[in-house]
């Protein structure tokens, strides 16, 4: 398996993590230097950073579904300043390139985030999480090609670093949105984010289980939906695609690549197996070099 070129970065293999599904700083505290010696991903994607710090949603934040899970984490993070100050130095020390994922609810917020990341040498690429409701339409920015194009026109000029748009699957035609991102200068797209889902408290109340009421579903349950969306997007755009959703083994990663993805991200499977990324890369290598 030769190194992969992704937006000018040379990666050792095509497996990265899904934003928000691996905390390399916490994992280093838990597993020690073994983590860095056997780092499971070819690039590291940070969790979503917002301008102001966020505590995240009240618990419970998790629900297990048939072959998957719902999370309603609510994007807890230290805020842009906190990220740059306390997390970035540690993430810069990882043995792989760093991609920083950011989210804002207005174009102005996104511009500020992107401009700040642009100044950091340690940040090799920026991923825009556009699963955030547009204040005007109420729809997620990424669910609507028009909103997304508008945001991209504002944000694109703020950086010369590679800009990846993380698409939401909760839309009628994800390829249309991907095409809009490409047209406005995105260097890559990544998908799928989680499928909107919910759960009720056990018992007769019907009350929501999750502190955040609804959440997003991930894991093997969504894999076939992810493969359809990745295929549709890769067929429509010429920029590279990061495919994800339910990838658990090398064969699933290979399917994403066959569908047209350049990189494959692993999210939920890392929860079941912290070293899943390395295992999947190894299995993939065996499949591709028979």
């Amino acid at each position: 398996m030769p190194p992969v070129d992704f937006c000018g970065m040379e990666l050792a293999h095509p497996i990265v993590n899904g934003s928000g599904t691996f905390d390399a700083i916490a994992a280093h505290a838990v597993f020690g230097d073994a983590l860095h010696e056997h780092f499971p991903f070819a690039a590291f994607v940070s969790k979503t950073i917002t301008i102001a710090p966020r505590a995240g949603n009240p618990p419970p934040r998790l629900w297990e579904t048939a072959s998957g899970m719902i999370n309603s984490i609510g994007l807890p993070n230290k805020g842009l300043a906190g990220y740059l100050e306390s997390d970035l130095p540690k993430l810069a020390a990882l043995p792989v390139p760093l991609i920083t994922n950011v989210m804002g609810s207005t174009a102005a917020e996104l511009c500020e985030l992107v401009a700040a990341c642009d100044e950091q040498d340690a940040i090799r690429a920026i991923e825009l999480n556009v699963s955030c409701p547009n204040v005007k339409t109420g729809l997620d920015i990424g669910a609507d090609p028009v909103s997304l194009a508008e945001v991209m026109r504002a944000v694109r000029p703020r950086t010369r670093k590679p800009l990846i748009v993380k698409l939401t699957p909760n839309t009628a035609d994800v390829a249309l949105v991907a095409a809009a991102a490409e047209a406005e200068g995105a260097d890559a797209v990544s998908l799928i984010n989680t499928l909107r889902a919910t759960a009720q408290k056990p018992g007769a109340s019907g009350e929501p289980w999750l502190g955040g009421v609804t959440g997003g579903m991930s894991g093997p349950a969504v894999r076939a939906v992810a493969l359809a969306q990745v295929s549709a997007v890769a067929a429509r755009v010429s920029i590279p695609v990061i495919g994800m959703g339910g990838v658990q083994r090398g064969e699933h990663a290979a399917q994403m690549l066959r569908a047209g993805a350049t990189l494959v991200a692993v999210g939920t499977e890392s929860f079941r197996d912290p070293a899943a990324g390395s295992r999947i890369a190894r299995e993939l290598r065996r499949l591709l070099e028979p």
Binding site: G20, T21, F22, D23, A26, A27, A29, V30, F31, G32, A34, L35, H38, K47, A55, G56, P58, P59, P60, R61, L62, E64, T65, A66, S67, G68, M69, N71, I73, P76, W209, G219, P220, T268, S270, F271, R272, D273, P274, A275, S278, R279
Partner: protein, 264 residues
Amino acid sequence: MSLAPFGRRRGVCASIRKVGSYHLLELVDRDGPDPEPGQFYMLAAVSGWGAGTDERPFLPRAFSAMGGTDGRLWFMLEDIGPGTHRLARLQKGEPLWLTGPLGHGFRMPQDGRRPILTGGGVGVPPLVMWSQHLVEHGVARTLQFGFRDTSHAAVAASFDSVQIATDDGSVGHHGLVTDLLVRELDRDPHATVYSCGPPGMLEAVRRLCVDRGIPAQLALESGMACGFGACFGCVVPLVDGSYARVCVDGPVLDATALDHVPAH
């Protein structure tokens, strides 16, 4: 804190037996370090995971170590859902996945305070291990457990000098284990409380200790997806308005830091 080897590894079920309402599970874990009291492991069966009610379990499950030396680990679990149901049916010799030891365990009492270990239900294992540690280090401790009934209390038969309370009065004190705790604290408040148990009990212990200004280390439980800080799913609310991840900031947290013990 013992560092966990990176990644999940295969353990083997060395023995499993039922004691009253609980299952005592002994694992062979050649590659792991010994856990410290209060640390936990994420466990999953290698086969048959995912075939229970509603096609669950999918994620691994968290269990406190009840002991661990020489490549052996002990756990105690109650069959309350698809994950524990499957684990309770492990066969001797069967492989299972484990990640750990994880989290921060109990810390020694300060200022010559005497340790009171108050717990119940599936909160027993970390306290049993902590009790053993204290005894081995020559620290006298008070151990008190609450259970629902005889069948749950059966597991305590082998523990030395333990106070028991049961909800139905079938064994020991008829009432809550916190009644026993109040009795001890009334007698001598120069104590540090260590507690693990169902949320209602832990919350009662928290209030009691905070109200009386008595240091308390609570070993919390929480729904977990990963156990190593990756998912941010296992949080509990702190007094400062932020959240702590039980898996990496805990599971042992100071009562004074916690806003409350959530019901789930």
